[in-house]
C-alpha cells in the first residue's frame, strides 16, 4: 500500500514537473475559447428578418472554415465556428453576443453584421475586453482604436469612398453642380458626410440638391425628376441595388445625362447594371476594392479561379454571383492570416495585436494593388479603392489605387 502511495506521489510530482516544463518551453498561451486542438470563434448574422440576404456571408465563412479544418486547421487547431441569428434586431444581438462570450466562451466575435447590431454590442465587448473583429459594416466609427481598442472593421468605410469621388470631382470638374440621392439611414448619411468632407469649403456651393428616399418607397422616379430639374451636371447615386437600377433606368427615360457616380454597394454587374440595361449604364463611374464575380474580365484570374473552385467544391449551394460570398471568402481569409500570425499565443490581447499588425496582406479577391494594412493606430484594414468606369458590359479600372483613411 505504502509503495503504491509513494509511487503515486512520485508520478504526480513528475506529472506536475512535466506540465510546468511543457508550458515553459513551448510558450503556449491560451485565452478562453482556445486550446491545443480548437479555436472557438463566435459570429452573429441576420439569417432571418429584413436583412436576411446578408446571411450568405456567414454561410460562406462557415464553408471556408470547414475547408480549412479539413486541410488540418491552423497550426494544428480546428476552427469551431459558432454562428447565431439575430434577425438584425439589436436587442437580440446583445443576447446572442452575451451567449457567445459568457456561455459558449468564444475567443472572439468575428464579422458580426450591421451597424445598429454592432453598435449595440460595442460597449459590452470593449468592457469585457473581447475582440469584436472585422465587423461587417462600412460605418466609419469602427476605426477608433483609442476609445474602442477591441473593435475593428474590415471593408473600406463609406466615407472614404465618397471622399475619393470628391477628390476626383475637385480635380477634373471643379465647377460642377452636384445632385445627390441617398438612402435615409446611417449608410446613406455616412456616404453624404464623406462627400461633404471631401469637397471641403466648396461643398455648399457645389451641391445643388440633396434628395433622400426611404427603403419602403416602391420607386424613386419622382426623386429623379426633381433632381434633373435642378440642372446639375454630376449625379451621385447613394442607393442600394434595387433603387440603383431604377435610378439608372429612369435617367435614360427622362434624358438626363449627368456624370453619374454610383456607390460601390450597387456596383454589381449582375444585380444592378444588367437589369438596368447596359446601354443606360455606359460611362458610369464607381469605385471598388473587390473583384466582381459577375464581371467577365476576372474569369481567368488565378485568384478568382481559386474562389470559383471553393464555391464549386465547398459551398455548392451558394451563389457565386452574390456579392456576399466574395466578401465572406475574403474576410475569412483575412482572419485565417491573423490566426496564423498568432502562432501558439492565442490570447484575446494577441489576437487584437496581430489583427493590428497586418502588413501588405492580400486576399486574391481584392482588386490588384489593394492591400490590407493595419497598425496600433490604424484599425481600418482596407482603406483604398480604385475608380472604374463602365464600358460595354464590364468595369474598366482607371487611375491609381486611391487611399483615404478616415478616423472614427
Amino acid at each position: 500500500m505504502s509503495v503504491i502511495k509513494k509511487l503515486a506521489i512520485l508520478s504526480a510530482a513528475f506529472g506536475l514537473l512535466a506540465a510546468t516544463a511543457g508550458t515553459a518551453s513551448a510558450q503556449k498561451k491560451y485565452g478562453l475559447g482556445a486550446s491545443d486542438t480548437e479555436i472557438k470563434i463566435g459570429n452573429i448574422m441576420p439569417y432571418s428578418g429584413p436583412a436576411s440576404a446578408y446571411g450568405v456571408i456567414g454561410r460562406t465563412e462557415a464553408a471556408y472554415f470547414k475547408k480549412i479544418n479539413d486541410a488540418g486547421g491552423i497550426n494544428g487547431r480546428k476552427i469551431n465556428f459558432v454562428s447565431y441569428d439575430d434577425a438584425y434586431s439589436p436587442p437580440k444581438t446583445v443576447e446572442q453576443a452575451r451567449k457567445l462570450v459568457e456561455s459558449d466562451e468564444v475567443l472572439f466575435i468575428f464579422n458580426s453584421l450591421g451597424t445598429p447590431p454592432n453598435t449595440a454590442i460595442q460597449k459590452y465587448m470593449n468592457s469585457k475586453k473581447v475582440p469584436q473583429l472585422f465587423v461587417a459594416t462600412g460605418a466609419t466609427k469602427w476605426n477608433d482604436p483609442k476609445d474602442f481598442p477591441w473593435t475593428m472593421g474590415w471593408q473600406p468605410s463609406y466615407q472614404s469612398e465618397t471622399q475619393i469621388y470628391a477628390k476626383y470631382i475637385l480635380k477634373n470638374h471643379p465647377n460642377a453642380k452636384i445632385a445627390v440621392l441617398y438612402q435615409n439611414d446611417d449608410y446613406g448619411k455616412d456616404y453624404l458626410k464623406g462627400l461633404k468632407d471631401g469637397l471641403g469649403s466648396k461643398a455648399s456651393s457645389m451641391i445643388v440638391a440633396e434628395e433622400s428616399y426611404e427603403t419602403s418607397e416602391p420607386t424613386i422616379d419622382s426623386h429623379m425628376v426633381k433632381l434633373k430639374a435642378t440642372g446639375a451636371d454630376i449625379f451621385i447615386n447613394i442607393t442600394t441595388p434595387k433603387f440603383a437600377a431604377q435610378a439608372i433606368k429612369k435617367n435614360a427615360e427622362i434624358g438626363w445625362k449627368p456624370l453619374h457616380f454610383l456607390n460601390n454597394v450597387s456596383a454589381s454587374v449582375g444585380s444592378v447594371l444588367k437589369p438596368a440595361g447596359f446601354e443606360n449604364a455606359q460611362d458610369i463611374i464607381s469605385a471598388a476594392y473587390l473583384k466582381d464575380a459577375s464581371d467577365k474580365q476576372w474569369d481567368n484570374d488565378p485568384g478568382m479561379k481559386e474562389f470559383y473552385a471553393f464555391m464549386a467544391k465547398d459551398f455548392p449551394e451558394g451563389d457565386k454571383l452574390d456579392g456576399g460570398t466574395v466578401v465572406g471568402y475574403g474576410v475569412a481569409q483575412t482572419l485565417v492570416q491573423v490566426l496564423k500570425q498568432c502562432g501558439d499565443n492565442l490570447t484575446r490581447e494577441n489576437v487584437m495585436k496581430q489583427a493590428a499588425s497586418l502588413k501588405d496582406f492580400r486576399t486574391e479577391v481584392l482588386l490588384p494593388g489593394i492591400k490590407i494594412n493595419t497598425g496600433p493606430n490604424d484599425f481600418a484594414p482596407i482603406s483604398s479603392l480604385q475608380l472604374m468606369k463602365f464600358k460595354g458590359d464590364k468595369w474598366e479600372l482607371f487611375g491609381d489605387v486611391i487611399s483615404a483613411d478616415v478616423g472614427g
Partner: protein
Amino acid sequence: MSAAEEVVTEAPAVEAVPKRAMTLGYGTSLVVLAALILTPLFVKNFIIFQMTMVLIYGLAVLALNILTGGSGQFSLGQSAFYAVGAYTSAILMEHANINYALTLPVAGIICFAFGFLFGQPALRLSGVYLALATFALATAMPQLLKLGYFEHWTGGVQGLVVTKPDAPFGLPLSQDMWLYYFTLAITIGIYIASVNLLRSRSGRAFMAIRDNEIAASAMGIDVSLYKTLAFGVSAGITGVAGGLGAIAVQFVAPDGYTITLAISLFLGMVVGGVGWLPGSIVGSAFIIFVPNMAESISKGLSGAVFGVLLFLVIFLVPHGARQVALVAQQLAAKLKKN
C-alpha cells in the same frame, strides 16, 4: 384572428370563478416567486440577463393581456409603446443624466398619455379594424424615430447607447444580478397592481365590455372611457417594460422596435393564455427561447421550425399555458383524493 376571438368570447366559461382564473393559487405563487428569487444565485450572468429579458417581455405581454384578455380589444401596436418607453428612459438617462429608476415612472406616464390619446380616435373602431389601426402605429414608429427633427435626441438611425447601472449602496451584486432583482421587484409590483385592477370595479367594467358591449353600456358603464382607460393602462405598463428593456440591453435603435416585436408580444399572449395573467411570463419565455431552439435545430429553416413548434402549441393546447395549468391542477386534485 378568429381563433383568438374565439378564445376571448369563450372566456366566461372559465371566468365563472374570476379570482382563481386570473391568478395562481397562493401556494403556487410562492413557489414560483421563490424560484424567481433563488435561481439567479446559481446561474451565469448570461442566464440572469436572459431571465431579466423574460421578465421585461413578460411585463409587455401582461400589458397586452390586460387590454385583450381584460377589455377584449386587439392591439398590434404594442411595439410602438414599448419603443416610446425605451426612448424616454434612454433620452432621460443619457441627455438629462436622470437616475435610471426615476426614468421608469416618466416612461410609464408618457406612454399612458400616448396610449390614452391614441385610444380616443382609435376606439371608434373595433375588432380587426382596431388591430389594423394599431398595426399602422407599429409600422410608423421606427420611421418616426428616424426623423431628422428628433435626431438630436434620438440619435436617428444610430440609436443611443445607454449606461448600465451599478448596484446601489455598494451591494455586492453584479450589474446583471442587481438589474434582475430590480426588474423582478417592478414586475411583482405591476403584477399585483394588475390583478387588483382586474378584480376592482374598473376591472369588472373592462370584462363587462369584453363580454357584451351593449349590455355593459346598458348597465351604465361609460364604454368609451373604460376602453381608452384600458388602452392607456396597457400602454403605460408597456412603456415601463420598454424603459427596463433599454436599460438591460444598453442600447436603443429603431431597428429594435419593428412590427416583429409587436407580433411577438401578441404571440406570447396567445401562448400564455389570453386573459390569464401568470401566463404572460410563460408566453414571454416562449418568444425568447423557442426561436433559439428553432435555430439550434436548423439554421437555414429556423423560421419554418419555429412555425411548426408554434403550430403544435396552438393545436395541442389552444388555450396556452392556462390550459396546461388547469390540467395540472385537476391532476393534483385527483392525486390528493386518492
